[in-house]
């Protein structure tokens, strides 16, 4: 097993600032927009972005929710490993709001497909966008593309992209892992 660094802490920092600015361009003061972190890994990225928007770019209020998609996945009873659910926390109304899904890696697109179904159970948003730190090109199983991306990478099927966060793994870094 070998690993290669795709993004170091500084590069992640730059990408996060760029993504925050792109969000502000489209969503102004976020009064009509809610951010939804896709569990389990999207929450870290979402919290970082919210903290940047509020502290660096002085957006007063950004609503952030966490969405778990386990019960909507299309591989229930298909995968060898049992599916483990995570917490969902959306304590605001998504009806008639702009929703931005936030996840660390976009790979096959199946998680996002599940998230699109899941969010519908909370109401009918006016539109849904997708923000992802890493976009794995050429690996999509579904017609889903991000609206905001940190970095596009080419990785083949046997490889894995791992995003580490200071608050969880002790460092900010993105690795490409070869089995």
């Amino acid at each position: 097993m070998s690993q290669k660094t795709l993004l170091n802490a500084t590069e992640i920092h730059v990408a996060l600032h760029r993504l925050a600015c792109q969000l502000i361009e489209n969503h102004n003061d976020f009064s009509q927009t809610v951010l939804i972190g896709i569990q389990p890994r999207g929450g870290f990225l979402a919290k970082r972005l919210v903290s940047l928007l509020q502290n660096q770019y002085k957006i007063k209020e950004v609503q952030l929710g966490l969405l778990d998609i386990t019960f909507y996945r299309d591989d229930f009873r298909r995968s060898e490993k049992p599916l483990e659910a995570n917490k969902t926390a959306i304590d605001f109304v998504v009806e008639d709001k702009k929703v931005v899904f936030i996840d660390d890696v976009l790979y096959t697109g199946r998680s996002i497909r599940s998230a699109l179904t899941a969010i519908g159970d909370f109401g009918r948003p006016t539109e849904i966008e997708l923000l992802t730190l890493i976009d794995r090109r050429f690996s999509r199983h579904l017609p889903i593309q991000p609206d905001y991306r940190g970095r596009q990478v080419d990785a083949i099927d046997g490889e894995k992209v791992r995003v580490c966060w200071q608050e969880q793994e002790g460092e900010d870094a993105v690795y490409l892992i070869k089995e």
Partner: protein, 312 residues
Amino acid sequence: MSELSVNHLLGIKYITEEDIQLIFETADHFKEVIHRPIKKVPSLRDITIANLFFENSTRTRLSFELAQKRLSADIINFSAGSSSVKKGESLVDTVNNILSMKVDMVVMRHPNPGAGVFLSKHINASIINAGDGAHEHPTQALLDCYSIRERLGDVAGKKVVIVGDILHSRVALSNIFALQKLGATVKVCGPKTLMPRYIESLGVTFEPNLIKALNWCDVANMLRVQNERMDISYFPSTREYTQQFGLNKTILDNLDKEIIVMHPGPINRGVEITSDVADSKQAIILDQVQNGLAVRMAVLYLLASKIKRNDN
């Protein structure tokens, strides 16, 4: 661990503490689901479940049915009163006939203790025991413990007294197993005639005095007097039972501490508990019903995830 150690839920006796904790953690997620604007997830949409009720039931049956619908399963319902059981068909034949219609799971209530265990040896489907005679009622015990955990933070270290007809109660037996597996201490209280002879061999103590038992406990689970299961007189009169073992507001208010009152339903108001107790803040009877839905969704989901897919 994220998988149950069993393929059926036949009784609390047959599952581990880890299984119970997994069911609780999963139920936490479903509790959030049932408060959404659309209270339904698509997980079990390729699963068909037969609800076989060979004995009357209202809340358990409604709770299972709703849990199945909230998980998008297809369901068929069967009650003994209107079936070929009356024509003399055996249990295995009845169930196999239903299973030949490609049913994946069976939820069964049956008057005979061990009916679920017997069936699990003869058929190829996942079975959930929804009550078998005076033996076990595992989902009731799970929802009772889940409700205690929700109200008190944890079940471990808590003192629980089960009051009433222990002899005829499947709720009592399942509760004793579940509470002990989770680290609680259990006492039973009620007329001596309604205590199983070897109850203390289960590691519980018998307390004949209701006030003493209530002063000792954190939680009192008041069972229903099951007149329909009593073939002989176990106590002189209902009035005398109420005087000795009925819980009223005066008793509750005079205790040294605030305890939690539970009841598996249906309540005989004025017999085992009075209306003002049942409707008081200390009673979590309606929480139990709501938690029952989340816990049953968790059990169905976790057992369904172990059913092998058949793509042919």
